[in-house]
Subunit: 283 residues, 3 copies
């Protein structure tokens, strides 16, 4: 082993989350898991491009008629309620049911859960179907944890992510899901452990559906390692944030950031990931 | 007051529309009003990113079940019929009804109104619900003003905006709405006054949903100053066009123009806005 | 005739497919045909921008109520089943019926046809409505040709395009349609003749809906020359691939490639098209 290799190994020891993140990224590109996305109308393009760039194979299939045939072939499932209407809910529940029956991971994005009683009720019903991971912003996680509309502002959060850590732990305990709260720091908890993913930058909140996209990336990472959804979730959040940081070097505003973020996600290299992923323990 | 300040004030006096536009932009970033968008499937991504870049908070919420809970919390409402189906119309009407009842401004984009009798009838019914502003291209405003399908070509206009000024005035008088006609010059009228917004460039018509996006920006500006919808509409049209002009400096075609336009909208500075917004009176 | 003109003419003789492609491109910009698109929710933005950049006029109109009024005014019709639900199918069939009755060309994209029995059955029914052109990836064409779900992976192909040439010929013969198979080489057949379009690059498969977009471009080219759908299809495939090749010079990844591809499509010049379109005979 030469010195360079030695140094690299030392470095990897220094940042095990970075090493783990790289493992997920390279596995994703190798295995290209099929991710079914039942998601909102605003996010479909960005989610599909995020998953493709990361190496996964997205499938936007949401007709209830197709779920018995299609969902069994997927490696994980994303459900996002961002533009929920009553017609979409049965397909979401059916797909979650198939995922559960076949022990496939599925991830819930309770987008704008506090927008209405209809949406809150739908999300509570979906949580009862045992998602592997739930990711939202602080306002969403608080509303879902309390089961009340609370104070929401559409899809944008009125709270800091740190305000929602206790709500996230409570939701994780009651639901059995890994719960992630996005914000200036992204927190991930299984109800006991809490880690914070520090990558990312504020301008990402000016890109519509960027939250939806990171939830999709979580679904892809969890597809690779369903037995370690806590770790996969934290890594996905940091990797997406890191892609944003790298993209920001070339960006002049939210639209170019969106483009460079996706390009960066596609081109991530081992050294950068191992060095720059920043996840720390808060428990 | 030093000389520089003096000169700046003189300049502002020279271009009161520029000064007004900047006031709207800075208020928008400060207040971040919540804009409910019930819009077509093609435009959702661009509209949401336009509103976010301008500082507003978009919410694409279109289920009729959510309107009683959600619409009262919004500062304005956008309704765009670009991909209308019968299922969407009741939610549009319900949301417009809530907006009216609570004295919130709402803006109608009669996209491709002449495509069918179904769509024309729907738009006429929506106009009866007293939109604060109606924005369309020349063919759309003519068709809506006459209440006839006329000669349409899908979403693209067959007429110059100047051809539609009389139709716009007539529609403004009959509906009580501010009416805006997009084109090489964008005209805005309340039925009496007519102003022209001269910013923008032809290539913007090669960006799908750019018309939808400027209607959304009108909804955001009107949310800031509902008592002056005429002024807010004219300023929104010019500011969007100006963002396109600035974006064009970096663009090589319609797709890069789209990106740079959004970036420019995000980064607009006072001096540029005050100097370059160009709105003139035609009445 | 000067030497330069002479050389250019010689060159055109050398590459008749390039010359033909340029004729389509320039006619498209001149005539700006109206293309009705009944397409999936993921692809609408990219399809509309592709068509606009190429000079066509897209209309995303999918309500069955609008088809009797609107479809007769179009020059061609695109039907893409990528996010099919039962509610959309009647409008697709009605529009195809109008196109047939009025002798307008229509193009079918059987996206992810093997995802479910529901989708396969729908596509078979659509094929019975005599599309002018069918374009899919290898897995899609094989599934549709065999009428069986086969081995599919969502929207992505598990086969090389060359694996599907016989299936494409068989489908062309049984359906009467021109059949195109996208892949590293794009094959086009009328059941007898086979040509391969060699432009394009692998990274285009990392852009969601890029396949949908090229089908839309086929619909536009076929609108220009419905009597020669075989040639129009091959040219559209090569031109789209060429736009990708040119875009790649400026791109750093899939998202910037998407942008530069659209810009390139908008800015294609005669010399480049005549020189670089590469279509060869395989029959």
């Amino acid at each position: 082993m030469n010195l360079e290799q030695q140094q690299q190994d030392d470095q990897q020891d220094t940042n095990p989350w970075g090493t783990k993140s790289w493992t997920y990224i390279s596995s994703l590109k190798q295995q290209s898991p099929l991710i079914q996305c039942i998601t909102n109308l605003v996010s479909m393009d960005l989610i599909a491009n995020t998953l493709l760039s990361a190496g996964a194979s997205p499938a936007m299939i949401h007709s209830i008629l197709e779920i018995p045939d299609f969902t069994p072939h997927t490696q994980s499932l994303l459900i996002n309620v961002g533009t929920l209407t009553p017609e979409w809910l049965p397909a979401m529940k059916a797909a979650a049911g198939v995922a559960n029956r076949l022990c496939k991971p599925w991830v819930l994005d309770p987008a704008a859960v506090g927008a209405s009683r209809f949406r809150l009720k739908a999300c509570i019903e979906l949580v009862e179907l045992k998602p592997t991971v739930i990711r939202g912003n602080a306002s969403e996680i608080i509303a879902l944890s309390l089961g009340s509309l609370g104070s929401m502002k559409g899809a944008d959060s009125l709270h800091e992510s740190s305000d929602a850590v206790e709500a996230a732990k409570s939701l994780a305990k009651s639901s059995g899901a890994i719960v992630a709260v996005s914000g200036s720091v992204d927190f991930v908890t299984d109800g006991q452990r809490v880690v914070g993913a520090h990558n990312g930058l504020p301008m990402m909140q000016k890109i519509t559906a960027s939250g939806c996209a990171v939830t999709a990336l979580i679904a892809a990472f969890v597809a690779i390692d369903p037995a370690h959804a806590f770790e996969a979730t934290a890594c996905a959040l940091s990797v997406f944030g890191l892609a944003g940081e790298i993209g920001m070097c070339l960006a002049n505003g939210p639209a170019s950031l969106r483009m460079h973020l996706i390009d960066s996600l596609y081109g991530l290299d081992q050294e950068t990931v191992v060095q720059r992923v920043k996840i720390t323990s808060f428990s």
